[in-house]
């Protein structure tokens, strides 16, 4: 489990987090959402130990990430947004780092490379941006770490690749694996993520699973714009209204509408979800 307690973090004069507390339970695929610059990547880096909190604590299964102990590092993998790789093939790359990870499976790597349709013989710098991302995803998943952190993993992927990405993540992540996907392209990870964490500047606006969300928020698809809705958006054939679920009606979460509703009613929804 990842526990973040009273975390303060700033880059020089820019405050990113102020006294935030958050928990990530094991075995879930979390969606870490937020506008550009709210600190999604920074939060992932703090959880990976690539940054150190100024105040408060971050622990992963009781270990402090910033100490970068092998016991911690062998159970986490961070795939950054920017794809920077060595002048080597994905196969050589994974063989070089795979031996450090106790559950690394080269067979799984080959299988994933096949499923993601990446050319095994090409070097990273001969692959397109999307192909590099898929190759690195195959590398990351073949390590079979307990925690997998993906920063904007669908950026640069074409539509079929996005579908492959969702398939691979849902198919090959074990029940013990915790995945945190940081993204602002919520549609790419729809039907994949649950729970959702929504970050704001200095704050966490929401950390809830779909059941908790639909228990308190109702997503109504209808012909008209409703007055008491937190957020309304016109869709082909009608409107989606995000509203308080006073009558405990069942509905399906529309992540994009939810995100916009939270952004427009920060304090109201934050208090509602407490």
């Amino acid at each position: 489990m990842i526990k973040i307690n009273n975390l303060d973090f700033a880059y020089k004069n820019t405050q990113v987090f102020k006294n935030i507390s958050l928990e990530f339970q094991k075995g879930n695929i979390y969606g870490l959402l937020g506008e550009n610059g709210v600190g999604k990547t920074t939060l992932l880096k703090l959880i990976c130990g690539l940054q150190k909190p100024q105040h408060g604590s971050v622990t992963v299964d009781g270990l402090t990430p910033s100490m970068r102990q092998p016991e911690f590092l062998q159970n986490v993998y961070f795939l950054p947004e920017e794809v920077i790789t060595e002048d080597t093939t994905p196969e050589k790359f994974i063989q070089k780092i795979g031996c450090f990870y106790p559950r690394y499976d080269f067979g799984l790597f080959n299988k994933l490379m096949g499923e993601l349709e990446v050319d095994l013989s090409k070097k990273f710098n001969e692959l397109s941006h999307g192909q590099k991302k898929k190759a690195l995803l195959a590398c990351a998943m073949s390590l079979q770490t307990d925690y997998l952190f993906l920063d904007e993993p669908t950026n640069g992927l074409d539509i079929p690749s996005k579908a492959l990405f969702r398939k691979v993540i849902s198919q090959y992540c074990s029940d013990e694996t915790t995945v945190i996907i940081s993204t602002h392209q919520v549609k790419d990870v729809e039907n994949l993520i649950d729970p959702i964490v929504i970050l704001d500047r200095d704050d966490v606006l929401m950390n809830a699973n779909f059941a908790e969300i639909t228990d308190k928020i109702y997503f109504e698809y209808g012909p008209e714009r409703l007055q008491n809705a937190y957020y309304t958006e016109m869709l082909p054939g009608g409107y989606i209204n995000v509203m308080p679920n006073d009558e405990h009606l069942e509905s399906n979460v529309n992540i994009e509408a939810l995100f916009n509703a939270v952004m427009k009613n920060k304090e109201t929804i934050k208090n509602l979800m407490k």
Partner: protein, 286 residues
Amino acid sequence: MNNTFNINRFGKILKHDGLNFFPNIILALAILWAIPVVVYLFTSLMPSDGTKDILDAFGRISVIDTLAKIALIIAPVRLYKYCNDSRKGIVYAMLPASTLEKFLSMVIYCVIVTPIIYIAGALAIDSILALFNGPYDGFAVSVYFDRYAQINYAFDYQDAKMLLDDTWPIFVNSLSPSFLTILSILGTLTLSAIFMFGNMIFKKHKTGKMIGILILLAIIIMIIFVNYVANNEALTEYFKQIDEDNVTEFIERMIFIWMNVALYTEIIVSALMLFGVYRKIKTQKY
């Protein structure tokens, strides 16, 4: 789990860094290996005055040693250039090995493996060239480990001999082969440690910036030293008393002081720089 040092994990990081070693440094070493070959060809093809030029083994050793020092200077940047890069360094930082294991592996490749491979290659090339009837006189490898003979050779110039004629036996006798070996190893370690530290603290132009800092430091130390000597009455008085009768004693004393200063400076500088490298590996933010 031992999070400080584990021999299996250390083997893995050594293997990981070893796989990066040749692709990253071989071109630089090849250029350094080529320099003595170019000198050989130049001397063979262009005799200065119609007679055959001779390049003796000791002279070639000093060239190989100088180039080995260049290899030491560039090794950290060639091998670990991106380990403090906020984007490219993430893979290295996230490798499941302890700071100590990563640090030791870095030291082994920068301080030991690089010079050994360079010198072994350079001596092998030298031996091949010495087989031909060219300007090479003798095999450098046959006298490479005889530091004592090399010092004798280095001072075997007329000016040095005149100055040190009386002192020379005292000087030579005061230097045991083991002391020379220690001094040589410490010199290698210090040079490498300085540039390893530079590699960790600078993001760009790492070697150039470190050389700049060293030149600046040398100038500052020289200014302080000259000022100190010039304003120290006791020293000025002492220098005035030096004449033909006691110059031997003076030189002997200066050499003794110099050797001790060199020894302790190298120990302190190496320790500080290596500690700095360790701390940077441990605390580098990305």
